[in-house]
Amino acid sequence: MTELVSGDGRTHINSRLMRESLQNRGVLSQTDSDRDVQVFPDVTLVSIGGQSIFDRGKGAILPLIEELVEIKRDKTVKMVIGVGGGTRVRHTISIAVDLGLPVGGMAQLVGAMEELNAILLNTLLAPHGSMPMQRDHFWDLPLYFDAGITPIAISVPPYHFWEPPPEAGHLPMHGSDFGLFQLAEVLGMKQVIFVKDEDGLYDKDPKQHADATRFGKITLDELMTKLPDDNILDRELFHAWSHAKNLKRVVIVNGLKHGQLSAAIRGEDVGTVIVKEPAV
């Protein structure tokens, strides 16, 4: 029964949080439980790298499209695709840094560069069934899946002008890897697969160090103790994931090697598999 409560000059609606300060730790903890609702637990999110795939042009993009079309032949596969922006994002930010633009200004700018890759991808995949998905039109997803249409999501999170001041340095912390992770997390998806141009995640940049070693299957907890400074994925992804409840599996595969993505979609351990173990 809804009930209005007054008497202290304010009009409240009766609720467990009525009159409470949402800064109070005791109050905050009352809202928690050991699970979050999982909306789409049978969906895989596929993220296709900007620098690693799109910046290589036709030679890398077309074989990957072919593989996506093969994957789509299995009508039981439900996937959402996102893309990175690559070298144009880096160019944008380097100019923005030189101009002294605020970090929120940089965050507002970069999404446009990724959208270019999303348009390319959709133009190539549309004949086989794909459509760009508007920012947060998640509730259309069941329709997409029923119709065999693969949605292409916006990967940069909408932090925009509100990008928080970074912990160190001057660059935005919330990039497209984080954005896609968060999309999978909030919708309770099965896994995220990052398609890059290396066989997985390495302890250091394999392009610069011949002795770099690849992580095979590793838990998030263990990886967090070994995270390299210069990383193939946004640091914020790992940070946010460690506080999250839903997502259990992130896979990093080589999109230049045919079959790795398909294997990861089938749930096979390929590339680097990062798993989150349930809290004890």
């Binding site: 009009t11 409240h12 609720s15 949080l17 300060s21 949402l22 800064q23 109070n24 005791g26 009352q30 809202t31 928690d32 439980s33 979050d36 609702v37 620098q51 290589r56 030679g59 070298t87 880096r90 160019h91 380097s94 840094v97 002294g100 633009l101 605020p102 200004g105 507002q108 947060d136 999170p157 909408p158 932090y159 925009h160 002008f161 509100w162 928080p164 001041p165 912990e167 160190a168 340095g169 001057h170 990039g175 954005g179 968060q182 997390e185 909030v186 309770g188 141009d197 940049d205 400074d229 210069d230 990383n231 193939i232 946004d234 640091r235 946010a240 506080h243 999250a244 409840k245 839903n246």
Partner: protein, 266 residues
């Protein structure tokens, strides 16, 4: 195999995940003269006319003095009500944050209707690019204080309430605009050692640094904790001022730059 085709730049080939602290960065302030002002939801708007009208009078007076004001609104009891029900349903934080957008938006629209005759204009979250026009025309832009993170709001350990709510939105707006101080209008004189509504022994804190405030580990604080955490890393907005909007003259004094209420410094 096709090679990466890379544009030459200082960040070419970079993963963008390192600290990037070797860059030559000389920041430019976007609109440093703007006063970014929050009107509290539970503290002011839920009190209705008695509390709000005198505050708006002072804001209009400040605007007539040429002070550029942007108003952002909080949520209040309706936000608490939906947060409470959403929590029972075990909604992910991103969903809770999305629900949390609607109430501050209603409040912004209410304030705009009241200020329309004085140039009040409703602004969408991404409309900062229109601010120069609005302010040069003598308008008082009003917008929701909620950051646009929505479904992309990260989960915090131990709670499903979003960390970035309307205080964070006010601070982050001031930081983007390059304003040195953000002003929060509440129903208390500022910062206390505990919630003064519940603990009569709580004492007022006139000025404090963010670090001191964090070190005190207070059970309750007047602003969202994440804002206190961000403050030391801010490029521009290095002061947060909290004033009591129920006391006549406080809002106008603060808008004129006087150190009334409490001030938290980076």
């Amino acid at each position: 195999m096709s090679e990466r085709r890379t544009l030459e730049s200082t960040l070419a080939g970079s993963t963008l995940t390192g600290p990037g602290d070797k860059l030559d960065y000389r920041p430019t302030a976007v609109m440093p003269a703007v006063k970014v002002v929050k009107i509290g939801g539970q503290s002011i708007l839920d009190r209705g006319r008695a509390a709000l009208f005198p505050i708006l009078d002072e804001i209009v007076e400040a605007r007539k003095l040429g002070i550029q004001v942007v108003l952002l609104t909080g949520g209040g009891t309706r936000a608490r009500h939906i947060y409470s029900i959403a929590s029972e349903l075990e909604m992910p934080t991103g969903v809770v944050a999305t629900l949390g957008k609607y109430i501050p938006m209603q409040n912004a629209r209410m304030v705009q209707m009241l200020l329309a005759k004085h140039g009040g204009i409703y602004m969408l979250p991404d409309d900062f690019e229109k601010l120069p026009l609005y302010l040069q025309m003598g308008c008082i832009p009003v917008m929701s204080g909620m950051p646009p993170f929505g479904y992309w709001e990260k989960r915090e350990e131990g709670t499903r309430i979003p960390q970035h709510r309307t205080d964070a939105g006010v601070f982050l707006s001031a930081e983007f605009l390059g304003a040195p101080r953000a002003l929060f209008i509440k129903d208390e004189d500022g910062l206390y050692t505990d919630d003064p509504k519940k603990n009569p022994a709580a004492t007022h804190i006139k000025a404090i640094t963010a670090r001191e405030l964090i070190d005190r580990g207070l059970p309750d604080v007047v602003l969202e904790r994440i804002v206190i955490e961000y403050l030391p890393r801010a490029q521009w907005c290095k002061e947060l001022q909290i004033v009591n909007g129920l006391k006549p003259g406080q809002v106008l004094a603060a808008l004129k730059g006087e150190d009334v209420g409490s001030i938290i410094r980076a």
